[in-house]
């Protein structure tokens, strides 16, 4: 087998992990650490600890057993908020795609949802539900559902009616048509809405934790900032980013590759966030 075929093979099997470009990526990573080091040398230590010091704090946080319950608290809120948002968002999106009147009726609400500052929804949700899990859930719905709706709507609109007609002409049952024609057709948009709904959920839940709880990652970061314990804030930030990146590279990218695999021209290793 020629070198080209082997490389192409590898790329296919490993998904989007592009092994052929690794020197460049190593350069990127190295630049990051060098940059951190350089900035840390310039700024006072309390403001900007060195990488190693931060990792030490992270380690001690884990040791004291504080990390898991806080992360769990945040994750729980995200889970329910995100689920509710997907549920509502997909329904709205489908309605919008199928019926003109619904689309025109729902659109103003989408626009409002998307234009409001995140903290507005956080504050409103907290003032309505107080110190409970319903506050972040409502805030998430208000933030994420509009975006999910608009993405799903696009997907539903784009369904190729020619394919539906083809399926009909072969006498294919409604059920099979939905599962094998409609769903694969909207899969990319469903995936995008999943991806961004999740990322929005992260953001809004941590923000709401400032107001509506005494646990969670967002709460810990704000608290550390308030007590001017910046090294702790950095440590929590690292933990947070660690989880986010784990999700991003461990879950989102592989699924994304799978869903978009059949497209000829998508640069799937770099479909960023919009």
């Amino acid at each position: 087998m020629s070198a080209d075929t082997t490389r192409a093979d590898l790329r296919t099997r490993l998904g989007d992990v592009d092994v052929t470009g690794w020197p460049a990526r190593v350069v990127g990573v190295v630049v990051f650490f060098v940059g951190w080091f350089a900035v840390a040398s310039v700024f006072p230590n309390e403001l900007m600890p060195f990488p190693v010091e931060t990792l030490e704090v992270v380690y001690s946080l884990f040791q004291s057993g504080k990390v898991v319950p806080q992360v769990a608290a945040t994750l729980k809120r995200i889970f329910w908020g995100f689920l509710a948002s997907m549920f509502l968002g997909i329904q709205m999106g489908v309605l919008m795609g199928l019926d003109q009147y619904q689309r025109k009726f729902i659109t103003p609400h989408i626009v409002i949802g998307l234009s409001a500052p995140l903290i507005a929804w956080s504050v409103i949700a907290t003032l309505i539900f107080g110190f409970s899990i319903y506050a972040p859930i409502l805030a998430t719905i208000l933030t994420a559902a509009p975006f999910i709706a608009i993405t799903v709507w696009k997907g539903v609109e784009d369904i190729d009616t020619d394919l539906l007609e083809m399926s009909n002409s072969f006498g294919i049952s409604r059920r099979r048509t939905i599962f094998k024609v409609v769903l694969p057709s909207v899969a990319p948009e469903l995936f995008t809405s999943f991806r961004f709904g999740l990322s929005l959920s992260w953001k809004i839940v941590t923000i709401t934790e400032i107001f509506a709880s005494n646990s969670g990652i967002g709460y810990q970061i704000i608290r550390a900032y308030g007590f001017v314990r910046f090294d702790e804030a950095w440590a929590w930030a690292v933990i947070f980013m660690g989880i986010v990146l784990l999700l991003e590279y461990g879950l989102i990218k592989p699924v994304q590759w799978r869903v978009l695999r059949y497209r000829p021209d998508t640069d799937i290793s770099f479909v960023g966030g919009r």
Binding site: D162, L163, E165, M166, S167, N168, S169, F170, G171, I172, S173, R176, K180, V181, P184, S185, A187, Y262, R263, P264
Partner: protein, 254 residues
């Protein structure tokens, strides 16, 4: 060849072909400007195993007739029936209409919902039949236009239809590919002896392929020509050109 198990327990693709009977068919659409009558009181009888072409300009309603025969659309009035009653109908579209997220094989598998006897081997055999043995697991985006259309044909054939409906299947292809596919279609037809009801606006294509040409225009069938030339037919032979002239004259008569 592929294995279909039939009601009487026998194997193999049937050499049976269906007959199509259309009586007094009328179709009209409601548009913004009022009612548009595409055609009315159309009668067509197609014998089993024959290759009949419906020839007409764009917009003459020929694709509509095909859709009515396939059941995708309902007539305004009139009757369509088949012999035998429970015919299998295969449909080949002008654009291949393949599911872009499935491989060629999976695209064929898709239409075998009601066929428990379908196997992957069967799908492969039909892809072999249309010359796509190297492409079982390719996605439509990786194929050329002609190759995609071949998959569409394989798909329609794979359900072992008694009747094959073809709606301008080669119009979107370049002439060389179209010529290839026409020759292949004829050879497949002569092998399997299905009834083919073919629609086109191309007079040469109609003459090259069919036993009979029905000319559709002004809302009715105004000519029914039998093509008695012997196959294979070459487009520059004397008989062909003579017949062609006759056909064109008839065409312009309306």
């Amino acid at each position: 060849m592929a294995s279909h198990t039939h009601d009487d327990g026998s194997d193999g693709p049937t050499e049976a072909a269906g007959a199509i009977h259309i009586e007094d068919l009328t179709k009209q659409f409601d548009t913004d400007e009022g009612v548009e009558r595409v055609f009315e009181n159309v009668d067509i009888d197609i014998e089993p195993g024959s290759f009949v072409t419906l020839l007409g300009r764009s917009g003459s309603g020929k694709s509509t007739i095909l859709k009515l025969v396939s059941g995708v659309m309902k007539p305004t009035s009139g009757d369509i029936w088949f012999e035998p009653d429970n015919v299998e109908i295969g449909y080949v579209f002008q654009s291949p209409r393949l599911l872009p997220w499935n491989t060629c094989l999976d695209n064929i598998e898709f239409v075998h919902e009601h066929n428990p006897g379908y196997t992957e081997e069967m799908g492969k055999e039909y892809l072999d039949l249309v010359g796509l043995s190297e492409h079982y697991h390719k996605y439509p985006s990786q194929l050329s236009g002609g190759q995609r259309q071949r998959v569409g044909i394989a798909r329609a054939l794979s359900i072992d239809p008694d009747i094959l409906l073809m709606d301008e299947p080669f119009s979107n292809l370049d002439e060389i590919t179209a010529e290839e596919l026409r020759a292949e279609l004829l050879s497949i037809w002569q092998q399997l002896n299905k009834t083919i009801f073919f629609v086109t606006h191309d007079i040469d294509e109609a003459i090259e392929l069919s036993d009979r040409i029905l000319m559709l225009g002004e809302g009715q069938i105004y000519a029914d020509l039998e093509v008695t030339l012997e196959r294979p037919r070459s487009l520059d032979s004397e008989e062909f050109l003579a017949f062609r002239q006759r056909a064109i004259d008839t065409f312009h008569d309306v």
